[in-house]
């Protein structure tokens, strides 16, 4: 962003709270963006002055127009440029000359249309920088601020949204109009609503930081199509959660796996861009939504109700079937059905009919009216073993839907614990739902959506409580030695390290490696094998041979000195026959481990998020099940633990069905060390440790094979 001497908050305040606005390029043609923007500003009772600027018109919508922005006699806080892209730079130049410091360029026709547009965008960025202008857009819908102090709709959205506590940021302008329409039908209000388009200057990070400090915003939603600086996004989200406690929900579109197919390692092919986004958002506490409906389901829960202090839910229903459905959904989302205290159970017994089910889910029976719902909800919500209440209603002939809705609102007024509702149906329950929505009770047609939203709120509450765990030193560390080795390889133009060198780098970073030796002759192979002890594994070493099996360059289970010497000769002869062009460094000799579980660890460098660490079951499981977890480096010990426990087959390591307990702490230490290596050494483009063999508890783990690909170019 521009103007380093002015705080970003101050600059953005001028965009959201202008006292005067110039609409530059306005026309008098109804149904066009330049006209509608003037009209929208006027129609929403903007609390400032509007100056249409038009080369031809004397007035627009009854307001005097100026030929140039420079003709306006008074200072202007914000200019909204709606001229076509071919002349937007001329309008911006005049805004700069006028001393306007905040500009929104609505016009399309910039980098999104190709090279010519890209040049135009560079030009406007240069002008913005020259005059210290904070610029939103180009190619955007505009900005909306519902704060009664300003009432600003500087956009071409059809209607001003209701005032509310949700801040919405979107890279897509068209999506914004759909979101506004969706939200209006559900009485969902917004604090600020911004379409930032091509983000030539102000980007999502600037806007997220602004909403962090905005007292009108309680929940932040963001729609992104591309993430230019993933690490900055993560840090910003963490900072928002840590300092303001506001949740950040995001949709990241473009869940394709392009790029992954070209990867040279297992890690590269497993860590597609979407998997990395998923992992990064989870680490940063960002709640990722699959779609708009999902996002708003969670947003209203977070905006309207207190955060749950636990995951124990009470369900109050007037019908058995929906109660069961809700129970299923609740359990599926990892929540628990609350067990009521004796006191609550006694109260239910006294106050509900004998036919009522007083255990969770509480069935107040089909003929329940508002009074019975009130009693059940109030008693459940005050039970210390309950963290939140779901109210289910089906419209039966005697159900006084509207009264029940009002009772739900009344009970919720204390805001002691979260209360969500699902009035199932459509036509008969519509008025009741309207009452709930107007009174900020999160309402869901489907109990499944309700359970999902509660689970998201609980997840966020848990994340807020999380503390970054302390770093544990893991073994001997010679970072300088590792970096020197990698530098030498890069300078020599190598694209891949031999296993011998790769293992050396890992060893220098404190990862446990097997004793090994590189034999340059038949005799030396025998000597090294004797020293290591039998059985041993022998592998051909050449940075020109990535797949050693293809040249018959691996011999397992070598049992004797003579066997080692013969294997040496055989491997060199195979390599000479199958890859006569390859330079051979020698033959690596390592012990052959038996037992243990094969795991995979890896590094991939993502263009947005930087180094990413992968963990999973190794060997054939990687290919078959892709049962892996990711974390953006650096990874602290707690996150390393989450990674290990996060795979579906974690039970294989933690003693499921009588299997031995494996040394997961040693694995976690490896993950932490590997993440330090990933952060410290940009020379590494991809890395696979496959397998890392983990032994039984307290017996450690060992790198059994490793591959390091180097950055080239």
């Amino acid at each position: 962003m521009t103007e380093p001497n002015k705080s970003p908050r101050k600059i953005l305040d001028q965009i959201f709270y202008p006292q005067s606005i110039a609409v530059v390029g306005a026309t008098r043609v109804p149904g066009t963006v330049p006209y509608d923007i003037v009209l929208n500003i006027l129609n929403t009772d903007f609390q400032g002055i509007v100056y249409p600027v038009s080369p031809k018109e004397k007035f627009i919508a009854g307001v005097k127009a100026f030929r140039y922005v420079l003709d306006i006699p008074d200072p202007v806080d914000l200019a909204v440029i709606v001229f076509p892209s071919s002349v937007a730079h001329m309008a911006l130049e005049q805004c700069g000359q006028k001393g306007i410091k905040s500009v929104v360029i609505i016009s399309a026709g910039f980098k999104e249309v190709g090279e010519e547009g890209l040049q135009r965008e560079r030009r406007i960025k240069e002008i913005a920088d020259k005059y210290g202008i904070a610029l939103i857009g180009p190619n955007c819908l505009g900005v909306i601020n519902t704060d009664p102090a300003v009432k600003l709709n500087a956009s071409f959205a059809r209607k001003m949204p209701e005032e509310g506590s949700i801040g919405f940021l979107s890279q897509s302008g068209a999506l914004c109009t759909a979101v506004l329409d969706y939200a209006r039908a559900k009485h969902i209000g917004f604090s600020k609503f911004v379409s930032f388009g091509n983000k030539a200057d102000i980007n999502e990070i600037d806007l997220l930081n602004y909403l962090r400090d905005d007292p009108k915003t309680k929940v932040i939603l963001v729609y992104l199509e591309e993430i230019s600086d993933g690490r900055a996004l993560m840090e910003t989200a963490r900072n928002i959660i840590r300092t303001s406690g506001k949740p950040v929900l995001a949709i990241k579109s473009g869940r394709t796996a392009e790029g992954a197919s070209a990867a040279a390692s297992h890690t590269g092919s497993l860590a597609g861009s979407d998997e990395v986004v998923e992992a990064a958002f989870r680490q940063a506490g960002i709640l990722r939504s699959e779609n708009i409906e999902h996002m708003f389901n969670e947003a209203i829960a977070l905006a309207y109700q207190p955060l749950p202090r636990g995951n124990r839910v009470a369900i109050i229903t007037n019908a058995g079937g929906p109660g069961v459905l809700t129970t299923d959904a609740t359990v599926r989302e990892g929540l628990k059905l609350a067990a009521f205290s004796e006191e609550t159970t006694e109260l239910f017994k006294k106050s509900l009919p004998k036919t009522a089910n007083i255990k969770n889910p509480v069935d107040v029976i089909g003929d329940a009216r508002a009074d019975r719902y009130r009693i059940a909800i109030s008693q459940a919500i005050h039970d210390p073993g309950v963290d939140g209440v779901f109210v289910i209603l089906t419209p039966q002939s005697m159900t006084d839907i509207d009264s029940i809705a009002r009772e739900v609102c009344r009970v919720s007024e204390t805001k002691e614990k979260p209360l969500y509702a699902s009035f199932m149906g459509e036509a008969d329950v519509a008025a009741g739902i309207d009452i709930l929505q107007r009174n900020k009770i999160p309402h869901y047609i489907l109990p499944e959506s309700m359970a999902k939203a509660f689970a998201a709120a609980y997840r966020f509450a848990s994340y807020k409580e999380e503390r970054v765990s302390e770093h544990r030193e893991t073994g001997r560390l010679d970072a300088a030695g590792a970096r020197a080795l990698l530098d030498r390889a890069v300078q020599a133009g190598r694209k891949v390290l031999t296993e011998f060198d790769a293992v050396k780098v890992l060893e220098l970073y404190g990862l446990p490696v097997l004793r090994n030796g590189l034999a340059a002759s038949r005799e030396e192979a025998g000597r090294i094998a004797d020293r290591i002890g039998y059985p041993v594994v022998m592998k051909i070493m050449s940075d020109e041979i990535i797949h050693k099996f293809d040249v018959q360059g691996v011999v397992l289970n070598v049992q004797s000195r003579k066997g080692a010497m013969d294997a040496y000769d055989q491997m060199l002869s195979n390599a000479a026959r199958l890859r006569p062009d390859a330079h051979i460094d020698g033959v690596l000799v390592t012990p052959m481990l038996s037992g243990g579980e094969e795991l995979i660890l890896g590094i991939k460098r993502d263009p947005s998020f930087g180094p990413v660490i992968l963990f999973g079951l190794g060997g054939i499981f990687v290919e078959l099940y892709r049962d892996v977890t990711f974390c953006v480096a650096p990874v602290d010990p707690a996150k390393a633990g989450d990674m290990v426990r996060g795979i579906k087959a974690a039970g294989i390591l933690t003693g499921a069905r009588g299997r031995p307990l494996r040394d997961t702490r040693a694995v976690e230490a490896c993950i932490v060390s590997l993440s330090r290596l990933a952060v410290d050494c940009p020379q590494i483009s991809e890395l696979d440790i496959n397998p890392l063999i983990v032994l039984n508890e307290k017996e450690g783990c060992f790198v059994a094979d490793a591959k390091i690909m180097l950055q080239t170019g």
Binding site: T27, V29, P55, F83, V87
Partner: protein, 80 residues
């Protein structure tokens, strides 16, 4: 045809099509200074063709931004 004459006739066409009042500067931008919209830009191209009896390449003609550039652009056709 002299450039001055071309310029005079270009300004006459611009004034008629865009219904401008007052003097038109040589460096006036059709959109930014004279308020031409996309339909009027196409109309301008057609009016220039009629005025000068030429057939212009529309894509290139629509990229011309100022009165002065239009005179130069048309002069190129008249030379041919």
């Amino acid at each position: 045809m002299e450039r001055q004459e071309i310029m005079t006739r270009v300004k006459k066409v611009v004034s008629q099509v865009l219904k401008t009042n007052g003097e038109i500067r040589d460096d006036a931008n059709f959109i930014f200074d004279l308020g031409a919209d996309s339909v009027q830009s196409v109309m301008l191209v057609a009016a220039f063709e009629e005025e000068f009896g030429i057939d212009m390449e529309e894509d290139k003609a629509l990229h011309v931004q100022t009165v002065s550039d239009a005179a130069d652009f048309i002069a190129g056709y008249l030379k041919d």
